[in-house]
Amino acid sequence: MVFKEEKLERIEKEKQAFEARMEKSRQKRPEQRELFTTGSGIPVKTVYAPDDIKDLEYLDDLGMPGSFPFTRGVQPNMYRGRFWTMRQYAGFSTAEDSNARYRYLLSQGSTGLSVAFDLPTQIGYDSDHSMAQGEVGKVGVPVDTLADMEILFDQIPLDQVTTSMTINAPASVLLAMYIALGEKQGVSADKLGGTIQNDILKEYIARGTYIFPPKPSMRLITDIFDFCSNHVPKWNTISISGYHIREAGSTAAQEIAFTLADGIAYVDAAIKKGQDPNVFGERLSFFFNAHNDFLEEVAKFRAARRIWAKIMKERFGLTNDKAMMLRFHTQTGGSTLTAQQPENNIIRVAFQALAAVLGGTQSLHTNSMDEALALPTEKSVGIALKTQQIIAYESGVCSTVDPLAGSYYIEALTKALETQALEYIEKIDEMGGMLVAIEKGYVQQQIQDAAYAYQRAVESGDAVVVGVNKFQIKEDNSGRELLRVDPSVGVRQVTKLNAVKAGRDNLKVKATLEDIRKAARDEGTNLMPLILEAVRCYASEGEICGVLREEFGEYRENIVL
């Protein structure tokens, strides 16, 4: 920032006098806390002034939106051109029920789809597997074969929506099914738009739906990068996620650092396979949390963009601006929502969503008020969607880009988060990179320590959770309408699966599975075309992953307490 030297000196002097006065007044009237910090523990001053950002250079550190280092946003005019995609994560019970929910959401104004799969599907098990017992359809939709996808997207033209699929270890299979579905609808792969989460490293760290060990998992991921670069160019091949890392208890700086360190590992892996980061870089995307500390969250998103752009330019030597941009989806922090007084969650989500918008997100999911109790009802997800629409159409914040830029506090905090995050990234580099850091348990330990510290803060009353440890009321939530998954869902899904298996060309399926097995053994062969062939024949996800499990083995958790 351009401040005349003498003016700065006068401001600094005035500030020192202010601090001295404040110190005196604190003796007489203590403040509410001895130390004020952000939600992540960064100390917060009484007031910020020009001297706090005297080293900030507008063009180098901020730049215009849409220009390196993209601190202010990845598009020049952001929401003036187009709002973020209102993309509500949804799925439960059956493909039919989930399809109805998707069509409801689209009719209510959501502008993109987001598929939640059940746990067996996320972990590569068919609905009839012993490990699937009790779990079918509970946290998302069960998808065993292409037949389920056909039902899931009934009356939804794939050339008119973009779809994000939260699927990681078996991402290749679900992407193949989506492509095969497009073929059936007459939509060629090069027209398909969407995202697969496909981020295995955070599964090992914080989410738990891994299948295979790291090496073959990275191979599957880079196979997808390459396949999409050539055949599905509008597809976001990965959603490098910090959301879950934050949900597991990390601080904001750790959320940035561990996410971007994962990103570095993926870029490294693809480069090692001979891929061009200027090409695949354009289709990397990210996924962050929108947590409680409003201003820290805005600063976090800005810091993340700046750090990633510099990593891509300086560390990896990219020359394509578009491949340096950190484009991201955001979800409001589920773990901040309470089972007590669920209506309060509507307000929490509203603030969190606003932080994401002021932080320049490309896509947003807002949680429903019954988050801590069950999957959302139609009513509660409606309110969550309206929250986004009210921000977009009524709040006025979308009329200009990055409105909080230049705030002394916001810029100082952006810088502080950037500095902290870079320290973590450097530490991980020294260990030998993210894969080593995960193996050593370093990342997991950091997260757990932060989670435990937070729990202690809540139990001591130092951290207030309204309605939980302060301002409690006696409640009776027994009459509350909640979404329930019918227990017969599992049995019905197995019946469906058996019908598909009976009706398909089983010899052909067997042959495609053998082709996958052979290809799995050869790292130089891209598995995607073979998986695509198998799903076209209605091979099941469990069958495909079963072969891969046999060839690749299974990941064994590194238990870090």
Binding site: G134, E135, G208, Q340, Y452
Partner: protein, 140 residues
């Protein structure tokens, strides 16, 4: 005479990967002087019951956020009966709707701790439950 430490297995049955709560409670139990065996993810009911018996545990704490609580509580409790280990206290927490808690208690669960429960509450409850269990053992 020194009191034998409470031994508790903290378990994650099934496919649910949400382990923040389980790890926090395991650590809190440990800090409260208990001996804790945390199973890690993807445990089958067989594995959980086997671990509890092998480790001579007083209690099993089941953490489940995936909606499969009815299945896992029932299976684990039934298995403990089959193996004549029903003196092992079963309790748990996670995302379990309030109106589904009574049926878990009826099955034989000692307590279900919902979101927002302070760790001190679970620790206190477990201490009392183990005390009562040991008192019964002495009598029999």
């Amino acid at each position: 005479m020194s009191e034998r430490k409470i031994r508790v297995v903290v378990a994650k049955p099934g496919l649910d990967g949400h382990d923040r709560g389980a790890k926090v409670i395991a650590r809190a139990f440990r800090d409260a002087g208990m001996e804790v065996i945390y199973t890690g993810l993807r445990q089958t009911p067989e594995q959980i019951v086997e671990t509890a018996i092998q480790e001579d545990a007083d209690a099993i704490g089941i953490s489940i956020l995936s909606g499969a609580h009815e299945h896992y509580f029932r299976t684990i409790i039934d298995m403990l009966k089959e193996r004549s280990a029903e003196d092992i206290i079963v309790f748990g927490g996670g995302v379990i709707p309030e109106n589904e808690v009574p049926s878990l208690l009826e099955m034989g669960a000692g307590a279900v701790f919902g979101p927002g429960t302070p760790t001190t509450e679970s620790i206190e409850w477990l201490r009392k439950a183990v005390e009562a269990k040991r008192a019964k053992e002495v009598q029999s």
